[in-house]
Amino acid sequence: MNPKPATQVCVACSIFRNEIERLQAEAKLDLPVRFLGSMLHMVPEKLEKRLQEVVEEERAKGHEIVLAYGDCCPNMTGIGSAEGVDRTQGFNCPEILLGGETYRKMRREGVFFLLPEWTLMWRKVFQGTLGLQGGTAQDFMKEMHTRLVYLDTELEPVPEKELAEISEYCGLPVERMKVSLEPLLASLMKAATRVPHE
Protein backbone atom coordinates (compact mmCIF):
# COMPACT_ATOMS: atom_id res chain seq x y z
CA MET A 1 0.00 0.00 0.00
CA ASN A 2 1.27 3.44 -0.81
CA PRO A 3 -0.09 6.01 1.64
CA LYS A 4 0.61 8.82 -0.77
CA PRO A 5 3.17 10.77 -2.39
CA ALA A 6 6.75 10.63 -3.18
CA THR A 7 6.91 13.86 -1.21
CA GLN A 8 6.67 11.94 2.04
CA VAL A 9 9.66 10.57 3.92
CA CYS A 10 9.80 8.50 7.07
CA VAL A 11 12.31 9.38 9.77
CA ALA A 12 12.67 6.35 12.00
CA CYS A 13 14.54 5.12 15.03
CA SER A 14 17.02 2.42 14.02
CA ILE A 15 15.35 0.12 16.55
CA PHE A 16 12.80 -0.45 13.73
CA ARG A 17 15.34 -0.78 10.90
CA ASN A 18 14.89 -4.48 10.11
CA GLU A 19 11.13 -4.32 10.51
CA ILE A 20 10.65 -1.27 8.31
CA GLU A 21 13.02 -2.60 5.66
CA ARG A 22 11.00 -5.83 5.60
CA LEU A 23 7.79 -3.84 5.13
CA GLN A 24 9.47 -1.99 2.27
CA ALA A 25 10.77 -5.22 0.72
CA GLU A 26 7.26 -6.69 0.83
CA ALA A 27 5.92 -3.53 -0.83
CA LYS A 28 3.67 -2.89 2.12
CA LEU A 29 5.31 0.44 2.82
CA ASP A 30 6.31 2.70 -0.03
CA LEU A 31 8.16 5.46 1.72
CA PRO A 32 11.84 6.38 1.70
CA VAL A 33 13.20 6.08 5.22
CA ARG A 34 15.99 7.87 7.10
CA PHE A 35 17.15 6.01 10.19
CA LEU A 36 18.64 7.72 13.24
CA GLY A 37 20.65 5.75 15.80
CA SER A 38 18.59 4.23 18.59
CA MET A 39 21.19 5.11 21.24
CA LEU A 40 20.04 8.72 20.88
CA HIS A 41 17.12 7.57 23.03
CA MET A 42 19.47 7.45 26.01
CA VAL A 43 20.03 11.21 25.84
CA PRO A 44 16.61 12.70 25.05
CA GLU A 45 17.94 16.24 24.56
CA LYS A 46 20.33 15.00 21.87
CA LEU A 47 17.58 13.01 20.20
CA GLU A 48 15.34 16.07 20.16
CA LYS A 49 18.03 18.27 18.65
CA ARG A 50 18.88 15.71 15.96
CA LEU A 51 15.23 15.11 15.12
CA GLN A 52 14.57 18.81 14.76
CA GLU A 53 17.55 19.14 12.43
CA VAL A 54 16.40 16.23 10.28
CA VAL A 55 12.82 17.46 10.17
CA GLU A 56 14.03 20.88 9.04
CA GLU A 57 16.29 19.31 6.38
CA GLU A 58 13.42 17.28 4.97
CA ARG A 59 11.04 20.19 5.08
CA ALA A 60 13.56 22.29 3.18
CA LYS A 61 13.36 19.63 0.44
CA GLY A 62 9.57 20.03 0.40
CA HIS A 63 8.90 16.69 2.06
CA GLU A 64 6.20 15.73 4.49
CA ILE A 65 7.55 13.67 7.36
CA VAL A 66 6.32 10.55 9.13
CA LEU A 67 8.15 10.00 12.41
CA ALA A 68 8.50 6.39 13.57
CA TYR A 69 9.10 7.18 17.22
CA GLY A 70 7.51 6.92 20.64
CA ASP A 71 7.36 9.82 23.07
CA CYS A 72 11.12 9.61 23.44
CA CYS A 73 12.12 13.24 24.01
CA PRO A 74 10.57 16.15 25.90
CA ASN A 75 9.08 17.91 22.88
CA MET A 76 8.27 14.89 20.72
CA THR A 77 4.62 15.88 20.74
CA GLY A 78 5.49 19.32 19.41
CA ILE A 79 7.81 17.96 16.71
CA GLY A 80 5.34 15.26 15.73
CA SER A 81 2.37 17.57 15.41
CA ALA A 82 4.02 20.39 13.48
CA GLU A 83 2.75 21.28 10.06
CA GLY A 84 3.67 18.61 7.55
CA VAL A 85 4.70 16.12 10.26
CA ASP A 86 2.97 13.26 12.05
CA ARG A 87 4.14 10.49 14.33
CA THR A 88 3.35 6.87 15.07
CA GLN A 89 1.14 6.74 18.14
CA GLY A 90 2.50 5.14 21.28
CA PHE A 91 4.54 5.89 24.36
CA ASN A 92 7.53 3.91 23.13
CA CYS A 93 8.74 1.28 20.67
CA PRO A 94 7.24 -1.74 22.47
CA GLU A 95 3.82 -0.09 22.36
CA ILE A 96 4.21 0.69 18.66
CA LEU A 97 5.05 -2.96 17.98
CA LEU A 98 2.43 -4.47 20.27
CA GLY A 99 -0.46 -2.04 20.13
CA GLY A 100 -1.72 -0.10 23.14
CA GLU A 101 -3.90 -2.68 24.84
CA THR A 102 -1.34 -5.51 24.90
CA TYR A 103 1.45 -3.13 25.88
CA ARG A 104 -0.48 -1.68 28.83
CA LYS A 105 -1.53 -5.10 30.10
CA MET A 106 2.05 -6.38 30.05
CA ARG A 107 3.45 -3.18 31.52
CA ARG A 108 1.01 -3.44 34.42
CA GLU A 109 2.38 -6.93 34.98
CA GLY A 110 5.86 -5.44 35.33
CA VAL A 111 7.31 -6.59 32.01
CA PHE A 112 10.60 -5.15 30.77
CA PHE A 113 10.69 -5.39 26.98
CA LEU A 114 13.72 -6.39 24.94
CA LEU A 115 13.76 -5.49 21.25
CA PRO A 116 16.10 -7.25 18.81
CA GLU A 117 18.55 -4.39 18.19
CA TRP A 118 19.09 -3.52 21.85
CA THR A 119 19.29 -7.15 22.87
CA LEU A 120 22.43 -7.50 20.78
CA MET A 121 24.05 -4.48 22.44
CA TRP A 122 22.68 -4.98 25.91
CA ARG A 123 26.00 -4.46 27.66
CA LYS A 124 26.38 -1.04 26.10
CA VAL A 125 22.90 -0.03 27.27
CA PHE A 126 22.73 -1.59 30.74
CA GLN A 127 26.33 -1.37 31.85
CA GLY A 128 27.59 1.53 29.79
CA THR A 129 24.83 4.11 29.62
CA LEU A 130 22.71 3.13 32.61
CA GLY A 131 25.75 2.28 34.73
CA LEU A 132 24.14 -0.84 36.19
CA GLN A 133 26.83 -3.19 37.47
CA GLY A 134 26.92 -6.35 39.56
CA GLY A 135 24.40 -6.68 42.35
CA THR A 136 22.98 -3.22 41.67
CA ALA A 137 21.71 -4.40 38.29
CA GLN A 138 19.77 -7.25 39.87
CA ASP A 139 18.50 -5.11 42.75
CA PHE A 140 17.28 -2.48 40.30
CA MET A 141 15.70 -4.78 37.73
CA LYS A 142 14.01 -7.01 40.31
CA GLU A 143 12.62 -4.00 42.14
CA MET A 144 11.21 -2.41 38.99
CA HIS A 145 10.20 -5.45 36.92
CA THR A 146 8.86 -8.98 37.18
CA ARG A 147 10.13 -10.54 33.94
CA LEU A 148 11.81 -9.85 30.61
CA VAL A 149 9.98 -10.34 27.33
CA TYR A 150 11.88 -10.48 24.04
CA LEU A 151 9.75 -9.18 21.18
CA ASP A 152 10.60 -11.53 18.32
CA THR A 153 9.72 -9.95 14.99
CA GLU A 154 11.01 -13.14 13.32
CA LEU A 155 13.43 -11.34 11.02
CA GLU A 156 16.57 -12.54 12.77
CA PRO A 157 17.32 -15.70 14.75
CA VAL A 158 16.40 -15.25 18.41
CA PRO A 159 19.68 -14.26 20.14
CA GLU A 160 19.47 -16.99 22.75
CA LYS A 161 23.00 -16.46 24.06
CA GLU A 162 22.38 -12.77 24.75
CA LEU A 163 18.96 -13.44 26.26
CA ALA A 164 20.49 -15.94 28.67
CA GLU A 165 23.18 -13.40 29.59
CA ILE A 166 20.64 -10.63 30.19
CA SER A 167 18.43 -12.93 32.23
CA GLU A 168 21.35 -13.91 34.45
CA TYR A 169 22.55 -10.32 34.72
CA CYS A 170 19.11 -8.99 35.70
CA GLY A 171 18.08 -11.98 37.79
CA LEU A 172 14.77 -12.16 35.94
CA PRO A 173 13.20 -14.85 33.75
CA VAL A 174 13.01 -14.14 30.04
CA GLU A 175 10.18 -15.05 27.69
CA ARG A 176 10.01 -14.89 23.92
CA MET A 177 6.95 -13.42 22.24
CA LYS A 178 6.35 -13.53 18.49
CA VAL A 179 5.25 -10.15 17.20
CA SER A 180 3.51 -9.36 13.93
CA LEU A 181 4.62 -6.33 11.94
CA GLU A 182 0.99 -5.36 11.32
CA PRO A 183 0.63 -2.96 14.30
CA LEU A 184 3.83 -1.15 13.22
CA LEU A 185 2.61 -0.97 9.62
CA ALA A 186 -0.83 0.24 10.71
CA SER A 187 0.74 2.91 12.89
CA LEU A 188 3.00 4.09 10.07
CA MET A 189 0.13 4.16 7.57
CA LYS A 190 -2.10 6.03 9.96
CA ALA A 191 0.57 8.66 10.53
CA ALA A 192 1.26 8.89 6.80
CA THR A 193 -2.35 9.53 5.94
CA ARG A 194 -2.76 11.96 8.81
CA VAL A 195 0.11 14.27 7.96
CA PRO A 196 -1.44 17.69 7.65
CA HIS A 197 -0.79 18.80 4.11
CA GLU A 198 0.37 22.31 3.51
Binding site: V43, P44, E45, D71, C72, P74, N75, M76, T77, F91, R104, R107, R108, T129, L130, G131, L132, Q133, G135, T136, A137, D139, F140, E143, M144
Partner: protein, 228 residues
Amino acid sequence: MSRDWSGELVSCIRGADRVAANAILTDWAETRTYEEAVTHLLTPALEHFGKLWADKGGETSLAQGYVAAKVAEDLIGRVLAAREAEGRTVETKLGPVVVGNVEEDYHPLGRKMLVAFLRSAGWEVHDLGVDVPPEVFLDKVQEVDARVVGASAMMFSTAKNVVGIRQEIERRGLTGRVQLAVGGAVFKLRPELVQEFGGDGTAPSALHAPALFEELWQRSLSLDSVTK
Protein backbone atom coordinates in the same frame (compact mmCIF):
# COMPACT_ATOMS: atom_id res chain seq x y z
CA MET B 1 44.13 13.43 59.10
CA SER B 2 40.42 12.78 59.72
CA ARG B 3 38.54 10.52 57.41
CA ASP B 4 36.36 12.24 54.76
CA TRP B 5 33.26 10.15 55.43
CA SER B 6 30.91 12.22 53.33
CA GLY B 7 33.35 12.33 50.41
CA GLU B 8 33.73 8.57 50.57
CA LEU B 9 29.97 8.11 50.57
CA VAL B 10 29.61 10.37 47.54
CA SER B 11 32.31 8.34 45.77
CA CYS B 12 30.40 5.13 46.47
CA ILE B 13 27.18 6.65 45.12
CA ARG B 14 28.98 7.89 42.02
CA GLY B 15 30.41 4.39 41.63
CA ALA B 16 26.86 3.02 42.05
CA ASP B 17 28.27 0.77 44.77
CA ARG B 18 25.56 0.20 47.37
CA VAL B 19 27.54 -2.45 49.26
CA ALA B 20 30.53 -0.16 49.77
CA ALA B 21 28.21 2.71 50.76
CA ASN B 22 26.60 0.55 53.42
CA ALA B 23 30.03 -0.50 54.69
CA ILE B 24 30.85 3.17 55.23
CA LEU B 25 27.61 3.65 57.19
CA THR B 26 28.50 0.63 59.33
CA ASP B 27 32.02 1.93 60.01
CA TRP B 28 30.68 5.38 60.85
CA ALA B 29 28.10 4.03 63.26
CA GLU B 30 30.69 2.06 65.25
CA THR B 31 31.34 5.13 67.34
CA ARG B 32 28.10 7.05 66.68
CA THR B 33 24.41 6.35 66.07
CA TYR B 34 22.62 5.79 62.80
CA GLU B 35 20.36 8.74 63.62
CA GLU B 36 23.42 10.97 63.72
CA ALA B 37 24.48 9.53 60.38
CA VAL B 38 21.34 10.94 58.77
CA THR B 39 22.29 14.49 59.68
CA HIS B 40 26.06 14.36 59.64
CA LEU B 41 26.80 11.88 56.88
CA LEU B 42 23.87 11.12 54.58
CA THR B 43 22.47 14.64 54.27
CA PRO B 44 25.75 16.34 53.24
CA ALA B 45 26.55 13.45 50.88
CA LEU B 46 23.14 13.66 49.24
CA GLU B 47 23.34 17.45 49.01
CA HIS B 48 26.68 17.09 47.24
CA PHE B 49 25.37 14.41 44.88
CA GLY B 50 22.12 16.35 44.38
CA LYS B 51 24.08 19.35 43.18
CA LEU B 52 25.94 17.19 40.68
CA TRP B 53 22.65 15.68 39.58
CA ALA B 54 20.96 19.05 39.11
CA ASP B 55 23.96 20.73 37.47
CA LYS B 56 25.27 17.85 35.37
CA GLY B 57 22.24 15.64 34.90
CA GLY B 58 23.61 14.13 31.71
CA GLU B 59 26.74 13.02 33.53
CA THR B 60 24.92 11.21 36.33
CA SER B 61 23.61 7.77 35.53
CA LEU B 62 20.37 6.04 36.37
CA ALA B 63 22.37 3.60 38.51
CA GLN B 64 23.87 6.42 40.59
CA GLY B 65 20.44 7.93 41.29
CA TYR B 66 19.10 4.52 42.19
CA VAL B 67 21.97 3.75 44.55
CA ALA B 68 21.64 7.17 46.22
CA ALA B 69 17.99 6.37 46.94
CA LYS B 70 18.80 2.87 48.18
CA VAL B 71 21.54 4.16 50.51
CA ALA B 72 19.02 6.62 52.00
CA GLU B 73 16.48 3.81 52.31
CA ASP B 74 19.05 1.47 53.88
CA LEU B 75 20.07 4.05 56.45
CA ILE B 76 16.48 4.87 57.38
CA GLY B 77 15.88 1.14 57.77
CA ARG B 78 18.79 0.96 60.23
CA VAL B 79 17.54 4.01 62.14
CA LEU B 80 14.08 2.50 62.52
CA ALA B 81 15.50 -0.88 63.54
CA ALA B 82 17.71 0.78 66.16
CA ARG B 83 14.77 2.75 67.56
CA GLU B 84 12.62 -0.36 67.76
CA ALA B 85 15.43 -2.30 69.43
CA GLU B 86 15.62 0.42 72.07
CA GLY B 87 11.85 0.29 72.52
CA ARG B 88 11.43 3.80 71.21
CA THR B 89 8.37 4.82 69.25
CA VAL B 90 8.88 4.83 65.52
CA GLU B 91 7.25 7.97 64.29
CA THR B 92 7.57 10.35 61.42
CA LYS B 93 7.69 14.09 61.96
CA LEU B 94 6.23 15.43 58.75
CA GLY B 95 3.24 14.85 56.56
CA PRO B 96 1.37 12.77 55.64
CA VAL B 97 1.79 13.12 51.89
CA VAL B 98 0.59 10.99 48.98
CA VAL B 99 2.70 10.09 45.94
CA GLY B 100 2.28 8.01 42.80
CA ASN B 101 2.91 7.80 39.07
CA VAL B 102 0.16 9.49 37.09
CA GLU B 103 -2.35 7.42 35.17
CA GLU B 104 -0.72 5.42 32.32
CA ASP B 105 2.80 6.08 33.61
CA TYR B 106 4.73 2.90 34.39
CA HIS B 107 8.16 4.33 35.21
CA PRO B 108 8.62 3.77 38.94
CA LEU B 109 12.26 4.73 39.44
CA GLY B 110 11.80 8.48 39.96
CA ARG B 111 8.89 7.90 42.31
CA LYS B 112 10.79 5.30 44.32
CA MET B 113 13.68 7.73 44.71
CA LEU B 114 11.22 10.42 45.77
CA VAL B 115 9.75 8.14 48.42
CA ALA B 116 13.21 7.21 49.74
CA PHE B 117 14.36 10.82 50.03
CA LEU B 118 11.10 12.03 51.56
CA ARG B 119 11.16 9.26 54.15
CA SER B 120 14.81 9.92 54.93
CA ALA B 121 13.80 13.54 55.59
CA GLY B 122 11.11 12.43 58.05
CA TRP B 123 7.97 12.51 55.91
CA GLU B 124 5.14 10.04 56.29
CA VAL B 125 4.63 8.92 52.70
CA HIS B 126 1.71 6.99 51.23
CA ASP B 127 2.99 5.49 47.98
CA LEU B 128 0.26 4.47 45.52
CA GLY B 129 2.57 2.94 42.88
CA VAL B 130 2.28 3.28 39.09
CA ASP B 131 -0.69 4.13 36.85
CA VAL B 132 -2.74 5.93 39.49
CA PRO B 133 -6.05 7.52 38.40
CA PRO B 134 -6.82 11.02 39.75
CA GLU B 135 -9.68 9.84 41.97
CA VAL B 136 -7.41 7.29 43.65
CA PHE B 137 -4.88 10.02 44.46
CA LEU B 138 -7.61 12.19 45.99
CA ASP B 139 -9.34 9.35 47.83
CA LYS B 140 -6.06 8.64 49.62
CA VAL B 141 -5.44 12.35 50.23
CA GLN B 142 -8.80 12.63 51.99
CA GLU B 143 -8.39 9.35 53.83
CA VAL B 144 -5.06 10.32 55.43
CA ASP B 145 -5.65 14.09 55.45
CA ALA B 146 -2.63 14.92 53.30
CA ARG B 147 -1.84 18.45 52.18
CA VAL B 148 0.63 17.58 49.41
CA VAL B 149 0.33 15.17 46.49
CA GLY B 150 3.43 14.16 44.53
CA ALA B 151 2.68 13.11 40.95
CA SER B 152 5.46 11.55 38.90
CA ALA B 153 5.52 11.29 35.10
CA MET B 154 8.36 10.55 32.77
CA MET B 155 7.02 11.56 29.37
CA PHE B 156 4.90 14.35 27.93
CA SER B 157 2.20 11.85 26.93
CA THR B 158 1.65 10.78 30.51
CA ALA B 159 2.47 14.12 32.16
CA LYS B 160 -0.68 15.48 30.51
CA ASN B 161 -2.61 13.33 32.97
CA VAL B 162 -1.52 15.67 35.79
CA VAL B 163 -4.36 17.87 34.51
CA GLY B 164 -6.83 15.24 35.71
CA ILE B 165 -5.41 15.41 39.25
CA ARG B 166 -5.71 19.19 39.25
CA GLN B 167 -9.33 18.91 38.09
CA GLU B 168 -10.08 16.34 40.78
CA ILE B 169 -8.60 18.63 43.46
CA GLU B 170 -10.87 21.42 42.23
CA ARG B 171 -13.90 19.16 41.92
CA ARG B 172 -13.56 18.15 45.56
CA GLY B 173 -13.17 21.76 46.72
CA LEU B 174 -9.60 21.21 47.90
CA THR B 175 -7.88 23.92 45.85
CA GLY B 176 -5.20 25.57 47.95
CA ARG B 177 -5.49 23.11 50.78
CA VAL B 178 -4.05 20.31 48.64
CA GLN B 179 -0.87 21.30 46.85
CA LEU B 180 0.26 19.38 43.77
CA ALA B 181 3.98 18.67 43.37
CA VAL B 182 4.97 17.27 39.98
CA GLY B 183 8.21 15.65 38.91
CA GLY B 184 9.88 13.49 36.32
CA ALA B 185 12.16 13.85 33.34
CA VAL B 186 9.75 15.83 31.19
CA PHE B 187 9.19 18.50 33.87
CA LYS B 188 12.91 18.90 34.38
CA LEU B 189 13.47 19.42 30.68
CA ARG B 190 10.31 21.47 30.09
CA PRO B 191 9.60 23.36 33.34
CA GLU B 192 6.85 25.43 31.67
CA LEU B 193 4.69 22.29 31.76
CA VAL B 194 4.44 22.45 35.56
CA GLN B 195 2.07 25.40 35.42
CA GLU B 196 0.49 24.39 32.11
CA PHE B 197 -0.65 21.06 33.55
CA GLY B 198 -1.75 22.50 36.89
CA GLY B 199 1.19 21.70 39.15
CA ASP B 200 2.01 23.92 42.13
CA GLY B 201 5.74 23.23 42.03
CA THR B 202 8.56 20.93 41.02
CA ALA B 203 12.14 20.17 42.08
CA PRO B 204 15.29 19.69 40.01
CA SER B 205 15.66 16.14 41.32
CA ALA B 206 14.11 13.71 43.79
CA LEU B 207 16.83 14.71 46.21
CA HIS B 208 15.43 18.23 46.29
CA ALA B 209 11.85 17.07 46.83
CA PRO B 210 11.82 17.31 50.66
CA ALA B 211 12.41 21.07 50.43
CA LEU B 212 9.66 21.41 47.82
CA PHE B 213 7.20 19.39 49.90
CA GLU B 214 7.98 21.54 52.95
CA GLU B 215 7.36 24.69 50.92
CA LEU B 216 4.06 23.36 49.57
CA TRP B 217 2.98 22.13 52.99
CA GLN B 218 3.53 25.61 54.42
CA ARG B 219 1.68 27.15 51.49
CA SER B 220 -1.25 24.83 52.12
CA LEU B 221 -1.34 25.83 55.78
CA SER B 222 -1.29 29.53 54.98
CA LEU B 223 -3.97 29.25 52.27
CA ASP B 224 -6.09 27.07 54.52
CA SER B 225 -5.96 29.62 57.34
CA VAL B 226 -7.00 32.39 54.93
CA THR B 227 -10.09 30.49 53.81
CA LYS B 228 -11.19 29.58 57.35
